[in-house]
């Protein structure tokens, strides 16, 4: 794929929007990392630092009424899908302003009215659901696409097998995006898989498999756009593998000592944000100054989201019993 052509077809506004989302994810994750380490935030977090190009590239290829589903590492997907940082932060603090009213927490952020199912934190758990969403679109002949984000680890779950096989058998309009970040928690993918590429597993289901560079947002976008377009035209699902890396630990206090120094340095050099900034500068889509201004604006919005999260009210005790059943009280 030629970056110049891709940037030309996207245009300045879209490109700036993509960079903004990537910066939002990075700053959001970096700031909450410190809040956690300082003990100022409840719960736990699984962060998306280094993987920003994956969520932003795929979400840029989607329409408003498409639906995505995420994992225990969902902040990046939520921001990329356009869910406000205030409501994501509210959810991390367990406050009423959270996108799930404080009932979900970090691992379940999402808002279906904005095109993202509350994230599914059981590894592999969202794949059968996404297949079902695609099945609904197919039965109703709606031109919508369902997208599952999952990791390399999920591709070893039984749910992966059942979901991909059924998605292929029914030809549902779905995209299965494997963010292969080389590690399932501390376990290297090499220890638990005898093949090089998760995308090769598509062949077992008679499904289209494809791979993209998960550190290059334009490459991700190009491959996602093609897969989404095929799905929307009724040509079935794709398993799209994005080669990426976590430039952070698995969860809040993980110093990732199981990664080698060379490996960390190699991927650090491939950080998707400086890479994209360079393309934008060289292509004359954004100046150094514009990028600096954007970073400042993003930082301000993240700081505001944190303040909003901290100052929002706690849920009322009665809320504990609300929102389980549609038409009945919780028996006590």
């Amino acid at each position: 794929m030629k970056h110049n052509e891709m940037m030309k077809s996207l245009g300045k506004e879209a490109l700036e929007g993509m960079l903004r989302r990537m910066l939002e994810i990075r700053q959001f994750e970096e700031k909450i990392r410190f809040l956690f380490l300082e003990g100022k935030m409840p719960g736990t977090v699984h962060q998306y630092i280094g993987m920003e190009a994956c969520a932003v590239g795929v979400c840029t290829a989607l329409e408003e009424d498409d639906v995505i589903a995420s994992t225990h590492r969902p902040h990046g997907h939520a921001i990329a899908r356009g869910i406000s940082m205030d409501s994501i932060m509210g959810e991390l603090y367990g406050k009423t302003t959270g996108c799930c009213g404080g009932k979900g927490g970090s691992m379940h952020v999402g808002d279906l009215s904005k095109g993202m199912l509350p994230a599914i934190a059981i590894v592999g758990g969202n794949l059968p659901i996404v297949m079902g969403m695609g099945l609904a679109f197919k039965i109703r002949k709606e031109p919508r696409v369902a997208v599952s984000f999952f990791g390399d680890g999920a591709s070893n779950e039984g749910a992966f097998h059942e979901a991909l096989n059924m998605a292929s058998v029914y030809g549902v309009p779905a995209l299965f995006v494997c963010e292969n970040n080389r590690y399932g928690a501390s376990t290297s993918v090499k220890r638990v898989m005898r093949i090089e590429h998760v995308a090769d597993r598509a062949a077992a289901y008679g499904m289209r498999g494809d791979r993209a560079d998960g550190m290059d947002v334009l490459d991700v976008y190009a491959h996602a756009r093609e897969a989404v377009s095929l799905a929307r035209k009724g040509e079935g699902p794709t398993l799209l593998e994005l080669e990426t890396f976590r430039l952070c630990g698995h969860s809040r206090r993980d110093p990732n000592n199981y990664m080698t120094q060379e490996e960390k340095e190699h991927w650090q050099k491939r950080d998707p944000i400086p890479f994209f900034e360079k393309l934008l500068r060289e292509g004359k889509y954004m100046t150094e100054k514009e990028i600096a201004d954007l970073k400042e604006a993003v930082e301000l919005s993240v700081v505001q989201a944190i303040e909003s999260g901290q100052q929002s009210p706690e849920p009322d005790p009665e809320v504990l019993f609300e929102g389980l059943y549609v038409n009945m009280e919780v028996p006590r």
Partner: protein
């Protein structure tokens, strides 16, 4: 019109699919031309009228319930079934973590109108096609559980379940279906009913007094309800008067109906086909104790399967499943002692 449970469910599903194009069925072997309409003939022939909404699946229970979950989130009303209730265990993540919890986790924003159908009962097939799984799911907030013991209730509860915006799990008993042809079961108990023409429903959460009595309240579902009625019949000649309550819905329990009866009789026995440990009887029994301890003339009594898997040997199976004679014996003992 007199129908068995399998026929009543088929008719109810047909009606719901005709009324609402968002209703669809998904399961294994449910609509294969020349096949048998699911393991117990419930969906037999429905594919002729609704080919695009009778979705035959691979043998993939995670996939079936995941598909139901995803489709329901998109506004459809799936009826997902397993051939044997035991296979629900293959799909526990989708049922318990996803279907039951997503609405709550979303802060009450999502709806999950999924109907799940699962045949239960210890029926000559050994331990893995036998379990009565009601207790597993009674400990799972977010799912309503119904268990129809008659064709009338099966039809009315199926309609209520499909029209309900929450997940409803329907347990059906293999010996009560009245399945015909090659899928007929030996040891079947007649659960057929006169079915009215009109579009009636049976509300979720409402039990029914199957037989009025003065001395003991027996609470039982599905096959055990029929066996309890047989026991009550035997005891009548001995001057022991049993009231038999069929909860019909196991969650939420119709506690008012149960307490009203126990206030009258002062004695309560819960009969269940699943092992006694952590069972339906434990839940109902404790609720009675918590609410009206002063009315109890006798300790709460449970008649249940032993705390073992179901055995195959027909001789052992008969010992395993509470039989009418055993229920009657326990009632006699209760009356003698208290």
């Amino acid at each position: 019109m007199r129908l068995g449970i399998a026929e009543a469910l088929r008719k109810a599903i047909h009606g719901e699919m005709a009324n609402d194009e968002n209703v669809f069925c998904i399961g294994e072997d449910i609509g294969i031309p020349g096949g048998y309409g699911g393991a117990f003939t419930v969906t037999l022939g429905l594919e002729k009228d609704f080919r695009e909404r009778i979705i035959d699946t691979p043998i993939s229970e995670i996939g079936i319930f995941g598909a139901a979950c995803g489709a329901a989130l998109m506004g459809m009303r799936p009826i997902a079934d397993v051939q044997y209730g035991d296979f629900l265990l293959c799909a526990m993540d989708q049922v318990v973590d996803q279907i039951a919890k997503l609405r709550y986790m979303s802060g009450g924003k999502l709806k999950m109108p999924v109907v799940m159908r699962a045949p239960v009962g210890v029926t000559g097939r050994g331990a893995q096609h036998a379990q009565c799984l009601e207790p597993y799911f009674m400990s799972c907030p977010g799912i309503k559980i119904v268990a129809p013991a008659t064709a009338y209730d099966a039809m009315g509860l199926l309609r209520s379940a499909v029209r309900d915006d929450d997940p409803v799990l329907m347990f059906e008993h293999k010996l009560l279906y009245g399945s015909k042809g090659i899928r007929a079961e030996s040891g079947t108990v007649d659960a057929s009913s006169e079915i009215p023409e009109e579009d009636y429903t049976v509300p979720i959460g409402k039990g029914i007094v199957r037989r009025e009595g003065e001395d003991v309240t027996i609470i039982a579902s599905l096959l055990m309800m029929h066996f309890s009625l047989q026991a009550a019949e035997m005891l009548e000649g001995e001057g022991i008067s049993c009231e038999v309550i069929d909860p019909r819905t196991l969650w939420p329990l119709d506690l008012d109906l149960i307490l009203q009866s126990v206030r009258k009789t002062g004695r309560v026995m819960i009969v269940e086909e699943s092992p006694k440990q952590g069972g339906v009887g434990a839940e109902i029994g404790v609720q009675v104790c918590e609410h009206i301890p002063d009315y109890l003339l006798a300790p709460v009594t449970r008649v249940a399967a032993p705390n073992t898997p179901a055995p195959f040997s027909p001789a052992l199976e008969k010992l395993y499943v509470p039989q009418p004679e055993r229920i009657a014996d326990r009632v006699r003992a209760m009356m003698e002692e208290y």
